[in-house]
């Protein structure tokens, strides 16, 4: 079974995003970019499936700027076998899902493992949209994935705790934080990754309409909180909460 993992190049999770003064968006000039953390988890899970003999090949796909090649190389260095870059400007989850659906039609993977959410747009949508377009079942927010026969059993992090469901394969699973701890690529593997196949395509190859449906009107800073104070003791804290804030 082939496993497909879509990976997105996003702002590094340690960097605080800054809004441009003119409200036109977030300033990404000279900002450190990395693989979306949830996608690292998805790649790790796919590699583990291969190591366990469940998966035969791990294919990673990124949709975005030329520099997303670096993200794909990182995935290849972790242990993915092959990569496809679909080079384009930023596209919405619906368009990403449409492009991925075409790749799925060409490649016929048995399982697509996505991240649960991209930490830039915080959409939490692409995996579910892809599953819908393919008519496949989906399991979001996975914290455990077991492939057995023609199905996959997934434990999911839901509002009240955990839920376990079983899907018929092929299926889409979206990775949550506690699915695994991704490995670091070793230096020899980083070197090896340079010669692994990475194909570049463009959206026009797939004949799908990727016109945005949403128009961004403006992007602004959140309202700032007014500066707080430090209190010197528990008594003072309790008094402030009772008398000043009125919340006790």
């Amino acid at each position: 079974m082939k496993v497909l993992v879509p990976v997105k190049r996003v702002i590094d999770y340690n960097v605080k995003a800054r809004v441009k003064a003119d409200g036109s968006g977030v300033d990404l000039a000279n900002v450190k970019m990395s693989m979306n953390p949830f996608d690292e988890i998805a790649v790790e899970e796919a590699i583990r499936l291969k190591e366990r003999g469940v998966a035969t090949e791990v294919l990673v796909v990124s949709i975005g700027a030329k520099q997303a090649q670096e993200t794909l190389r990182t995935a290849l260095a972790m242990g993915a076998d092959r990569a496809i870059l679909i080079e384009t400007d930023d596209v919405e989850p619906l368009a990403v899902a449409k492009l991925l659906a075409k790749v799925v039609a060409e490649e016929e993977p048995g399982l697509v493992l996505t991240g649960k959410q991209a930490i830039d747009n915080d959409m939490n949508a692409t995996g579910q949209m892809l599953a819908a377009l393919l008519g496949w079942p989906q399991a979001t927010f996975a914290s455990a994935v077991t492939v057995e026969g023609d199905g996959v059993t997934v434990t999911r992090e839901v509002d009240g705790g955990l839920q376990t469901i079983r899907l018929r394969l092929p299926a889409v699973v979206t990775a949550d934080l506690r699915l695994n701890e991704p490995r670091y690529a070793s230096l020899p593997n980083i070197m090896k990754a340079k010669s692994k196949p990475l194909a570049t395509r463009v959206p026009a190859d797939f004949g799908v309409d990727i016109t945005p449906r949403l128009t961004v009107v403006d992007t602004r800073e959140p309202a700032a909180r007014k500066a707080g104070i430090k209190v010197g003791s528990v008594e003072e804290l309790v008094a402030k909460l009772r008398d000043e804030a009125g919340v006790l």
């Binding site: 619906l94 819908a132 469901i165 949550d176 959140p222 104070i229 209190v231």
Partner: protein, 308 residues
Amino acid sequence: MTVLLMADMRDGALGVDATAKALGALAGLSEVHVLVVGEGIGDAAVEAAGLAGVTKVLAADSAALGKGLAEPLADLIVSLAGDYTHIAAPATAVAKSVLPRVAALLDVMIIPDVIEVAGEDRFVRPIYAGNAIQTVTSADRIKVFTIRTATFRAVGAGGPAPVETVAVPSGSGLSEWVADEVAVSDRPELTAARVVVSGGRGLGSQANFALIEGLADKLGAAVGASRAAVDAGFAPNDCQVGQTGKVVAPELYLAVGISGAIQHLAGMKDSKVIVAVNKDEDAPIFQVADYGLVGDLFQVVPELVAKV
């Protein structure tokens, strides 16, 4: 213009807080029909019909829908989509799974975590862990969105609106429910609580995390946690507050032994009053705290329990 609002459902009961807050968010749009789904939902339908702003309740009674599986739920909503201009739901784990699927089936975009419905086709939502707030307009024929309920006011009583039973499409058999592992607690629910006490890695162990629970019980509060505390097994996963956990905006939020990473702040910085207890005076959590106490939580928390 009519909105189809998928109610928050918990095992056949109505999640009143989230549903009523979602109705609060939709107050500017005209008619709202509320969809109630699950097994044995008669009481829930009546309860939903009594909320202000609801003009009709659609009841889909089915065991298959009771577990929140995305495929049958999405098929049901698509079968009802007909003349609706908007399809919405409070941003629960179920809605975050189902509505993007619905949107793709209808060939429209999803607009997740809306914090303001600024017009019929205009929505405001946080991005980049809440470090930017974006306003978007949608050109889609049906607007599909989830509502981040934390900062909306719940509607009161109204109606009663009529209740209509709707047919449930036959299942696709693509997925099946196996088991739920749900923690039962007498404490208020995290996203609805007036006070939240959250603990972080600073607690050091699951046994020490009982300090947080003790303080929460004294204050009648819900218990929250940072990702680090959940990862380390101090607290269950559904306690995680943050960018990828729950978003809360209580009247009082106490962060104990939490450093204040961007991802944590994303889930709590709209709280009315924030208190931070941390032994590191430079911890970033103090930048959002109204009242900061620099000190050892192992001394501070027992003292707080004694004095509040």
